[in-house]
Symmetry: C2
Subunit: 366 residues, 2 copies
Amino acid sequence: MAQIAPSRRVRRTPFSDGVEAAGVKGYTVYNRMLLPTVFRSVTEDYHHLKSAVQVWDVACERQVEVRGPDASRLMQMLTPRDLRGMLPGQCYYVPMVDETGGMLNDPVAVKLAEDRFWISIADSDLLLWVKGIAYGYRLDVLVDEPDVSPLAIQGPKSDELMARVFGDAIKNVRFFRFGWFEFQGRQLAIARSGYSKQGGYEIYVEGGDIGMPLWNALMEAGADLDVHAGCPNLIERIEGGLLSYGNDMNRDNTPHEAGLGKFCSTQTAIGCIGRDALLRVAKDGPNKQIRAIAIDGDIPACDRAWPLLASGKVVGHVTSAAKSPDYNTNVAIGMVRMTHWDAGTELNVRTPAGERRAVVQDNFWI
Amino acid sequence: MAQIAPSRRVRRTPFSDGVEAAGVKGYTVYNRMLLPTVFRSVTEDYHHLKSAVQVWDVACERQVEVRGPDASRLMQMLTPRDLRGMLPGQCYYVPMVDETGGMLNDPVAVKLAEDRFWISIADSDLLLWVKGIAYGYRLDVLVDEPDVSPLAIQGPKSDELMARVFGDAIKNVRFFRFGWFEFQGRQLAIARSGYSKQGGYEIYVEGGDIGMPLWNALMEAGADLDVHAGCPNLIERIEGGLLSYGNDMNRDNTPHEAGLGKFCSTQTAIGCIGRDALLRVAKDGPNKQIRAIAIDGDIPACDRAWPLLASGKVVGHVTSAAKSPDYNTNVAIGMVRMTHWDAGTELNVRTPAGERRAVVQDNFWI
């Protein structure tokens, strides 16, 4: 693969200096910002993530701030998940959809106050949609991208590392809740969340100036815990069934196709823009859906959708795949038609390196 | 710099096979799609672009199609440029702004018919803004991303190459006009336009399946013209003052700051969402503006904004820069405060490699 070209348009983050010093070997671009993809090797990073603790520059999870008297109304317009019970201090995973029920993003919403939210976005300029809706409806709300850059601490030793920097109270933060903790005189929202199944936290670093001081403090405090710079790990996130917007689903897909029907309270999510379309989907059910898929043999990097074949007919596509050391197979995520989505169904997958045997799984691996 | 990681999310294009076969050495990501940045070397590509002809994979200039009875109304809502005189067959460079006059994109609009446009976008998900506005205003219009991938033919020998593939009539297409030409039984819109100052065309390739056949036909027809795979060239585009959205201006800037005031007909562009804000700007004038800037000495790649200093005080930022072989200086684009934007003003620029002398120019180089 080729090198990534430097330009201001592909934004650096408050942690880029630390990432470079740690010897980053690969990048992707996510929300027009650099996102590391590998430090030592994807496999070495994978084993380390499962056994120690890593600090991840996920500043590319940009925030869309929604603030003002109409903030709650606007938030409910964006998602089919019922937000009426959401309290300040909670994080909700919220599929966001357009008027046809097509997914525009699958962010985490962070409720800072009754009239103030951050939407921690996956890879699409959701800001433009939120601004367009707010303007079109003349809502009394401010929509902007604040100077907030998430830093994730992931891995089994996360609790220990975080306690050393923020105090033992951090351990009381429950899953998908956040609390306010001090670093160098600044209050930071810290949630128990993150894009791995190994446990950990996401620090919403407000103000780029404290990015490197915080990065360095974590590295120093965790030296004897074998802390290392890391990043979302392709293998581990597929094993855990963590979807990637743009890879595994996009605007063509409904949340139900993405297996996110449980986050769609279409009966009660009054005001959601995509509600009419999703009421229909909820009634009929999707005719294709995300599945865990095991693939035999050697496979190349999955840089395009691979057709899934049954008797030579396309019945779906694999959209993410990687060789798993722990499960001794290639783990994959794909969208499969209902005729062939039952666990145990044997298919062929057409990769650029040739056809391989693929088996639909009943569950993801972790 | 690190390698770019493969993933479906960073989309390949209909021309990626040709780009890889031609030995692409660097990529960037633009609209979540691969955009080549260098083939032989940026300098070698530059000399070749100015003397021969290149075929560019600019599929990342995604199209936003706007179609229906309210298409013209919606288009005028998006831009301060007066579109009343725009005829089918014309292309207009149209800064697009939000309600505060902040630039959301600087695309080329292609008028296919009275009720049908393509917006050929720079690097932001403008689709989401256009959809949001259309939905918020309940406009009778369809907004979508069609399967259209631009392929640019640039360089002094473009006319000759294009005539060989599409016939001599192609030479009659005027600047920023387009005509319909046949390739393998399909009608393609071809405009005289492109992101260089060397002349050429942009082919709006409708249907990814004919991408590689067209690529190969151009390569074969131009063998004796020294045709080569190319890409927007950093040096040449700075010499020519071709702005890059995300590098040289973004949502923080008005079109006037970007030097695009001549495209703002704020008096007559009735319906433009940002009109109120831009009437104020047009009256007062901007207090900072894009300038051509020459920089002395050796400079690194410009991957972040470099502060421009006068007596130690920041008076602007350089946002794009490259060493120019033809002009024997570093050519650069920057935003400079009005107190220091006069041609000939000497400043210092703080690069990561140290301070350099910078001089504001009266014009760009080409």
